[in-house]
């Protein structure tokens, strides 16, 4: 019944690593959609909308992801939805990612200088037009490096979904550790797999950041704020 830790298990772990990547990607896209709405609410002219979005972000950033995960996991089910673990974990991570991405992107939008808004207004552009043609194109460039940086956080944090029984890389590690009695080798392998995924992404984020910073003083000013925010949340 018991086995020695072998390439066989490494293959099993690598397969579970794909689930980790899938869950992270689901969370990134779900969080991007919901986070964009939050960002719009945060910069809107309606105080109630701004307040609601701010409260949401405050709550999600103020409780541990592990607890959020348990609440979403049991809450989705108690609300009467019968969904597979990938979906309930996906929902939890989407709620989590949205709060952070919303704030990162708000920083990017606000880093676009007031002069740009005034200039656009002088040219007769309305609010959607200004956003679409002037602000967002500049903000996106500033937002890409911290967004990739946050994706690293997502990949790492999906490890917590092992606790609700979603078999991703960390839960696969637990299962293999218990079948082989070799926890150190197993967890070091698991750690190495995360390291490979995350350090590639971190490197990408840094390179993008450097490239943005290289593009003259205006772009530099635009990236400074979200980059600082990204550093603070990491």
């Amino acid at each position: 019944m018991f086995q020695t830790f072998s390439w066989h298990h490494v293959g099993f772990l690598a397969q579970a690593g794909l689930w980790t990547l899938l869950l992270s990607t689901v969370a990134l896209f779900g969080g991007a959609i919901f986070g964009a709405l939050l960002m719009l609410a945060r910069i809107s002219i309606f105080p109630a909308l701004r307040g609601a979005a701010a409260a949401y972000i405050y709550v999600v950033q103020g409780i541990p992801l592990l607890v959020l995960l348990f609440i979403a996991y049991f809450g989705v089910a108690f609300a009467g939805f019968d969904v597979p673990p990938l979906v309930s974990a996906g929902v939890a991570f989407t709620l989590y990612a949205a709060a952070f991405l919303g704030e990162i992107w708000r920083g990017s939008i606000e880093s676009v200088g007031k002069g740009q808004w005034e200039g656009a207004a002088a040219l007769g552009l309305d609010w959607p037009g200004t956003m679409r043609h002037v602000v967002v194109p500049q903000a996106i460039r500033a937002a890409i490096p911290p967004t990739v940086g946050f994706f690293v956080q997502l990949v790492k944090n999906t490890a917590l979904s092992s606790v609700i029984g979603f078999v991703e890389l960390t839960r696969a590690g637990q299962i293999v550790a218990n079948a082989t009695f070799q926890p150190l080798s197993v967890y070091l392998t698991v750690g190495a797999m995360y390291f490979v995924i995350c350090s590639c992404l971190s490197y990408l984020s840094r390179r993008l950041d450097e490239r943005m910073r290289g593009q003259g003083t205006r772009a530099k000013a635009a990236t400074a704020q979200p980059a600082a925010l990204a550093a603070a949340i990491q």
């Binding site: 099993f12 089910a77 019968d82």
Partner: protein, 261 residues
């Protein structure tokens, strides 16, 4: 980009709605109609639930689940379920059935319904040979690991002498790793698990029984048809000797009889 976003939002919404309408009138009929049963098993709990060398779920609970699915005539979907999530996963409709070294207690039976017994286990203290533990009194000042909110936890918490340091882990995999890593002086666990571990690791031995634990299958309360069908099937699997064969295969010996309600 905009159409993509719209499509994505719409798709997500549809997925949630269509998942939501699958609520059952009668679980037994529903399972047969949908052709698949969702069974919760902890895969970190040998010999009950484990992952074998071809990385497939295996063990006593898994094989029993397969027999039940066979008799129902449906496909089986094994869902890895850590011990502390067994009841929440049932009450929140994530699972139809829990077969996961699930000891019957009156407290648990207030939250969920148990079938008849499928195995009677001894909860034992498993510890390294060097530790001279003869009774619970010897555990004073020692670190003893259990899996959180299992009957092992309940039994030890109720009976332990004052001064026993009870360490609680989230699942059996962590509890047994704590023992193997020497983080605890002993663990209270099922007799089946203890036997497997002392075979694999010769410096571990079973010290003494802490309590006896009849195990059943767990389902949601109020599903009387399904409960009755399961009890019927357990009776038949015992009569044909299939349960005894599984007990012998995984636990080394079969129970002489199974107590019934």
């Amino acid at each position: 980009m905009r159409t993509f976003l719209k499509a994505a939002v719409l798709g997500l919404g549809l997925a949630i709605v269509s998942a939501g309408v699958a609520s059952a009138q009668n679980l037994l009929d529903d399972i047969i109609k949908r052709g698949v049963i969702n069974v919760g098993v902890s895969l970190g709990t040998p010999p009950y639930g484990l992952t074998n060398s071809s990385m497939e779920p295996d063990g006593y609970d898994v094989e029993l689940a397969k027999l039940i699915a066979r008799d129902l005539g449906v496909k089986i979907n094994i869902v890895d379920t850590v011990a502390s999530n067994r009841i929440p996963n049932l009450t929140s409709n994530k699972l139809d059935l829990v077969i996961s070294s699930f000891s019957i207690t009156p407290e648990r039976a207030k939250a969920i319904a148990f079938t008849n017994t499928v195995y009677v286990d001894q909860q034992v203290l498993l510890a390294p040979k060097d530790n001279k533990f003869a009774s619970l009194a010897d555990l004073k000042g020692k670190k003893i690991g259990v899996t959180r909110s299992t009957t092992n936890d309940i039994a030890l918490t109720k009976r332990a002498v004052e001064g026993t340091a009870i360490q609680r882990y989230d699942d059996d995999a962590s509890t047994s790793q704590a023992l193997l890593a020497g983080q605890v002086d002993g663990i209270v666990t099922s007799g089946g698990l203890a036997q497997v571990f002392s075979q694999k690791s010769p410096n571990l031995e079973t010290k003494f029984p802490v309590a006896s634990a009849p195990m059943g299958l767990g389902i949601r309360r109020g599903e009387h048809d399904f409960l009755h069908w399961l009890n019927t099937d357990i009776f038949m699997l015992w009569t044909t000797g299939e349960i005894q064969a599984l007990q012998k295969k995984w636990m080394g010996a079969a129970n002489p009889e199974l107590p019934r309600f």
